[in-house]
Symmetry: C2
Subunit: 204 residues, 2 copies
């Protein structure tokens, strides 16, 4: 009952919930074997030390727009003048090779992925411990005016409502506990009978 | 996003796969909080040191048959001259109090529970690492004739086919790893969005 195809794991949640930190920590802990991180495509220029295919797939604007039009991106968005997106082929190659692939993305991107892959993906929503805590985190990030902060909090509320499209939710209170729960979810998903049918049929 | 109602966890698998050992080990490890073990009812006489309501609920034959007829048992079976079964009320009381309840039972009993509770229960099937290994375990248990052993192996094959009625399967190769996976499954199930709807609606 070994693993066959890998799992696509989408880790998302409202801005400021700590998606990036959780993702980095999971990588550090190395408790999940056979885990790969999705590499995004972007049209922004490489920064010093960034390698193509490692940090990003660096693309020209026209190339990126072709990828959009050809449906080659699992999700994409435009920030200011640059495109960012997730090349589907890279993800699919890893999955077919038996690797789990983790995608750490904003809720809007996660919704695009859900529409594309449906129940094929494992969608995990990180929840802030409480609004006060998130406010504190938003405040820590940058010096914000009251108005800007209110706008962010409203946006966060809207983002929270998207939890209904996810399979799992984890309150990101204690980072180690959050990582353990994400790891548990991945390991549990691999134990699902429906994912092991071929194996146990061979066994019989 | 605290726990509300507990989960009913059914741990089963073919005879000789090591259900009892896994269950005891999970209890020893104490990694799962709020876990209770189901107490069975039986008509057999208490042995020395066994306490009513702790080791078993000891019942008279007529009492037990009334429980069967009133649908008070999640599952039951008769071995030789004695009845054994799982009182539903005890399980329900624990679940309502927020405890997870673990039921370690034979596959036939597990099927009865599945019919009764449907998707409300989490059904975990323990799989022997391989037939040779199970053969070894069956051999270790008692001195068996070839015929008796063949009968057992045939029965095991029949039991294996019941895996299709379960949610999860765990190969019981390394006992610690098996326990970790069962614990992961329970923790992951608690993170399911559908189990936390009331909580997150309150939150919004």
């Amino acid at each position: 009952m070994n693993r066959e195809e890998g799992l696509l794991i989408v880790l998302s949640g409202p801005s400021g919930v700590g998606k990036g930190t959780v993702c980095k920590q999971i990588r550090c802990r190395q408790k999940l074997q056979h885990l790969k991180y999705s590499v995004s495509a972007t049209t922004r220029a490489p920064r010093e030390g960034e390698a193509n295919g490692v940090d990003y797939f660096f693309k020209q604007k026209e190339e990126f727009e072709d990828m959009i039009n050809n449906g080659e991106l699992l999700e994409w968005a435009k920030y200011v003048d640059n495109y960012y997106g997730t090349p589907y082929s890279f993800v699919q190659d890893q999955l077919k090779a038996g690797y789990d692939v983790i995608l750490e993305i904003e809720v809007q991107g996660a919704l695009q992925v859900r529409k594309r892959v449906g129940k094929e993906g494992i969608f995990i929503f990180l929840v802030p411990p409480n609004v006060e805590e998130l406010k504190r985190r938003i405040l820590e990030r940058a010096s914000e005016t009251d108005e800007s902060m209110n706008r962010r909090l409203k946006a966060m509320e809207q983002e929270m409502k998207l939890i209904q499209h996810y399979d799992y939710c984890v309150v990101n209170d204690d980072i180690q506990l959050t990582c353990e729960l994400v790891e548990s979810i991945v390991n549990a998903e691999h134990c699902k009978v429906e994912r092991n049918k071929i194996k146990y049929e061979q066994w019989l």
